[in-house]
């Protein structure tokens, strides 16, 4: 079984300050982990993914995430927030079983203040 918990439903930062979106996962197997971003009434866009290679993963738009097996975490970070980063972010886990089904977190809404 697999599950994912996004620890914050809302995060608010000022433009130019760091972003931290927290995610913890549970998986019976070696998981793949993903972060997706969704802008209002749009589909989901992949930010980055971890698939058992390097534990520090760099994605698009300056985002990165670190896979920490001992902490079962995959937190998303960005050194400096931009207004365009305001969106909904989803952490996703997939353990390669059952047709590669993925389990989504409930999402974190990121607000960026000017």
């Amino acid at each position: 079984a697999q599950s994912v918990t996004q620890l914050d439903s809302h995060v608010s930062v000022s433009e130019g300050t760091p972003v931290l979106l927290r995610c913890n996962y549970s998986s019976s197997y070696s998981p793949s982990l993903f972060w997706y971003v969704q802008h209002p009434n749009k589909g989901l866009q992949l930010l980055l993914k971890y698939t058992s290679a390097a534990t520090l993963v760099k994605g698009i738009n300056g985002f990165e995430a670190e896979f920490k097996k001992s902490e079962t975490s995959f937190h998303l970070t960005k050194p400096s927030a931009h207004m365009s980063d305001a969106a909904e972010y989803f952490c996703v886990v997939s353990d390669h079983t059952n047709a590669g089904k993925s389990t989504f977190g409930d999402g974190t809404t990121l607000t960026v203040k000017p």
């Binding site: 793949s32 866009q45 996703v92 390669h96 047709a99 989504f104 409930d106 999402g107």
Partner: protein, 113 residues
């Protein structure tokens, strides 16, 4: 390159009316296909997935059904819509269980009135 098309983008339907949402994938063969629903302020709930033509697995009991008449076509249907069917529906595909990265369509905003 692969693309996924989902339509319509928005839909307003009366209670009790039928529903048909269509999703097609181009540029790949034998994809895994998925229908998700996103309720307001919540994450995505997997409704159906398919690993091949005519093979549909349902994740949650509901008023909806899915079909896969062709390799790259996935349809979400209902005979009679309920108010609770309102939401944002997303179609997605992935290559196989060894590569679970999912690629999403742009979604359909369904409002049942």
């Amino acid at each position: 390159s692969q693309t996924i098309h989902q339509w319509p983008a928005t839909l307003v339907q009366p209670v009790g009316s039928p529903l048909s949402l269509e999703c097609t994938v181009e540029g790949t063969s034998n994809p895994n296909l998925y229908w998700y629903r996103q309720a307001a302020g919540r994450g995505l709930q997997l409704l159906f997935y398919s690993v091949g033509i005519g093979q549909i697995s349902s994740e949650v009991p509901q008023n909806l059904s899915a079909s896969r008449p062709q390799d790259r076509q996935f349809i979400l249907s209902s005979k009679k819509l309920l108010l609770s069917d309102s939401g944002f529906y997303l179609c997605a595909w992935s290559r196989d269980r060894a590569d679970p990265e999912a690629f999403f369509g742009q979604g359909t905003r369904l409002t049942v009135v």
